[in-house]
């Protein structure tokens, strides 16, 4: 029977079908960070267990870490005592159990979904889990990758497996050439606007099409990262030449092993006659830059379109639109281009990779942020991204334009560290969630591409990126 890529990955990792009807899947790679792991380690210790396969686990602190660190920084330098406890706890647990950690002083520390691929720990065909919903990012490499809860983190540590029920198959095909200034972030936001944040619930979404074929691994990671914002905990892209080139550069596999692996990776494609439970085909050539106006990623429009008016909306949407507009302080503004921004955040596991920083830097080169912008920060996704950007002089371009250049971490995507919005501040953000209070209590988040965020810093408002 013809199989989809998801079906093949499922079968390859299927240990057994349990009496309950669920399946036990083998987990190849487990990423850990400081926020969702302490209770799992505690559970493991209480049961007197040790990790099943130590080498499967890779840890790094990212959510809580300050992003103004400098050279002599260590764990003790964290001012927030409660955040410090979590970072220290991860360190203790990794030492206690012998798990490989890129700690806060490591040059390779960074957002777990950025460092995994760039250090070669993410390989095509793997099952990858992490106590973090944006684990879907790794699906860009043809991995069955998904976010899990803390109980499951404990389960994976203890058993190297996960109990799961099979998802349905959904196919999203993006064909066409993007307009100038339109990036993968715009494409995925557009999709979420079309199908909604529950559109992919219960499904694994496979992305394909001539657009996907044409883009880099960084851009593919942005798309799979945001699959969860469309409700799908799994996003997938079949490995191709671009994937294999990336792996060749980033993994430390010896040649014979790499070549053997490559033969297998080439089989990780959906069979010609396989069918999906849901199919969506989007011609991307007409898509404009997307910016969110509300408090859910599905509340998104073309950057120059009218913000929805609850009076003209379908009955069941009226109340949600009204509540979101009130929270966001939209007032009488008709378009996003009418709104004045206070802060700009370029970073997060969605858009903090080298390509994102290059695009943003290009847009601000020789310019300066608007007087009305209180703060514009650039937070590279990892130590490696930071070094690379500095080698290319991007840090100087940003700093000369009035941006603050930071150290790696999740930062203002969720504001667990000191990088937060103050109440009512409006932020142009390259992150993934515009939920109420996400970037700080009563803060107002507008999601957009790194290019659009950079231009918003310069102009103080959303503008035409083409």
């Amino acid at each position: 029977m013809p199989k989809t890529l998801y079906d093949k990955l499922w079968k390859e990792h299927h240990i057994t079908t349990l009496n309950s009807g669920e399946s036990l899947l083998y987990i190849d790679r487990h990423y850990l960070h400081e926020v969702t792991s302490p209770q799992a380690f505690e559970g493991l210790a209480k049961k007197d267990l040790t990790p099943w396969r130590l080498g499967a686990n890779i840890a790094t602190p990212d959510h809580n870490v300050p992003t103004e660190r400098g050279d002599s920084f260590n764990m003790d330098s964290i001012d927030d005592e409660i955040s410090k406890i979590q970072v220290v706890e991860l360190d203790k647990n990794c030492n206690r159990f012998g798990i490989k950690q890129f700690d806060i002083t490591s040059n390779n520390q960074g957002i777990v979904h950025v460092i995994g691929p760039e250090l070669g720990y993410t390989l095509p065909g793997m099952t990858i889990v992490c106590g973090d919903s944006h684990t879907s990012t790794h699906g860009a490499f043809g991995c069955l990758a998904m976010g899990i809860g803390t109980s499951e983190v404990e389960h994976v540590l203890a058993t190297q497996s996960l109990k799961v029920s099979k998802l349905k198959n959904m196919h999203v095909r993006f064909d066409g050439k993007p307009q100038s200034g339109v990036t993968s972030k715009d494409i995925v936001l557009y999709l979420i606007g079309k199908i909604g944040t529950a559109g992919g619930n219960g499904h694994a979404i496979e992305f394909s099409g001539s657009y996907i074929d044409s883009i880099s691994m960084e851009a593919r990671m942005t798309i799979c990262n945001m699959a969860i914002e469309a409700g799908a905990k799994v996003g997938l892209i079949a490995p191709d030449k671009t994937t294999i080139e990336y792996i060749k550069e980033h993994s430390n596999l010896e040649d014979d092993l790499f070549n053997r692996a490559k033969d297998h990776w080439k089989t990780l494609v959906t069979d010609k006659d396989a069918t999906y439970d849901k199919e969506i085909h989007i011609d991307i050539s007409a898509i404009k830059s997307q910016v969110t106006w509300g408090t859910s990623p599905e509340m998104v429009v073309d950057f120059d379109a009218n913000i929805p008016n609850p009076d003209n909306a379908p009955e069941e949407k009226k109340k949600n639109i009204q509540l979101a507009k009130e929270y966001m302080g939209i007032g009488s503004a008709e378009k996003l281009t009418d709104l004045k921004f206070d802060k700009v955040f370029i970073g997060s596991c969605t858009n903090s990779r080298i390509e994102d920083l290059r695009e943003a830097a290009q847009a601000v080169k020789g310019k300066h942020i608007a007087d009305t912008i209180l703060e514009a920060i650039v937070v590279p996704g990892s130590g490696m991204v930071k070094l690379q950007a500095e080698a290319e002089g991007l840090d100087k371009i940003f700093q000369n334009a009035g941006f603050i250049w930071r150290d790696p971490g999740c930062s203002m995507c969720l504001g667990m560290n000191p990088d937060q919005l103050k109440p009512y501040e409006r932020c142009a953000s390259t992150s993934n969630r515009n939920f109420e209070g996400r970037q700080g209590n009563l803060g107002r988040t507008h999601l957009m591409s790194p290019l659009m965020a950079a231009l918003t810093a310069i102009n103080g408002t959303v503008s035409n990126p083409s």
């Binding site: 036990l24 409660i82 409700g231 509540l323 109420e436 209070g437």
Partner: protein, 215 residues
């Protein structure tokens, strides 16, 4: 595996929040994810809506500025055991803290027309029952629970909820329901299949050695 008979039936007050897409950041904001404990989240449930001031981990309810208009601050809904909402409840982040906060507050069941996948899964590991009904049934329940305070009764074994004279059947996978009824621990159960996992792993090491190259 001891049967906790009292959990076969959930009775109590139903509180409603009339919104779609209530994400896990609303259920519990990131600030409280700094805790390294699995319990003690009751005061932080729906923090952004429940209080008028900005909170911190360790600052309890009695030290906060209460939003008197929020349903869970109004008697008798402050004792609610069942929560009624709209579509896609628990979307967003994978934080199990969202379920811990509901559980610690005393919520034993959440009724919605759909749920975020990861949240749905996390519920069953912590004794909270997510009940999925159709949008029409949800609309009816909102109408029913709007005017007068309603008590609701959920039978886990019969997969049925009753409010006044009305009854709704709901479906949920038996194996998931059993986790709630018996309070099963997945790690213990899976380790009974230890040998199967070992065999699978040995084969994988042989056939796909590159996966293990960094071990």
């Amino acid at each position: 595996m001891k049967l906790q008979g009292n959990e076969l039936q959930i009775n109590g007050i139903i509180a409603s929040i009339d919104r779609d897409n209530i994400d896990t950041d609303q259920i519990i904001p990131t600030e409280y994810l700094k805790s390294i404990k699995k319990f003690g989240f009751e005061d932080y449930l729906f923090d952004g809506w429940r209080y008028l001031d900005d909170g911190k981990l360790g600052v309890t309810k009695d030290q906060r500025q209460i939003n008197e208009k929020f349903v869970l601050n109004i008697s008798p809904y402050d004792k609610a055991t069942i929560l009624l909402t709209r579509d896609n409840f628990g979307c967003g982040s994978s934080r199990e803290h969202a379920v811990w906060a509901l559980r610690d507050f005393g919520i034993k069941a959440v009724i919605a027309s759909s749920f975020g996948d990861i949240f749905y899964n996390n519920c069953f590991k912590n004794g909270v029952l997510p009940i999925q009904l159709s949008k029409e049934q949800i609309e009816d329940l909102f109408k029913l629970s709007q005017d007068t305070i309603k008590e609701i009764s959920v039978s886990l074994d019969a997969k049925k909820l009753s409010i006044g004279d009305i009854e709704y059947k709901f479906s949920v996978e038996d194996n998931l329901l059993e986790r709630i009824i018996y309070g099963l621990d997945d790690v213990d159960i899976t380790l009974q299949d230890k040998e199967l996992i070992k065999d699978f792993e040995s084969n994988r090491i042989k056939n796909k050695p590159w996966i293990f190259a960094n071990d």
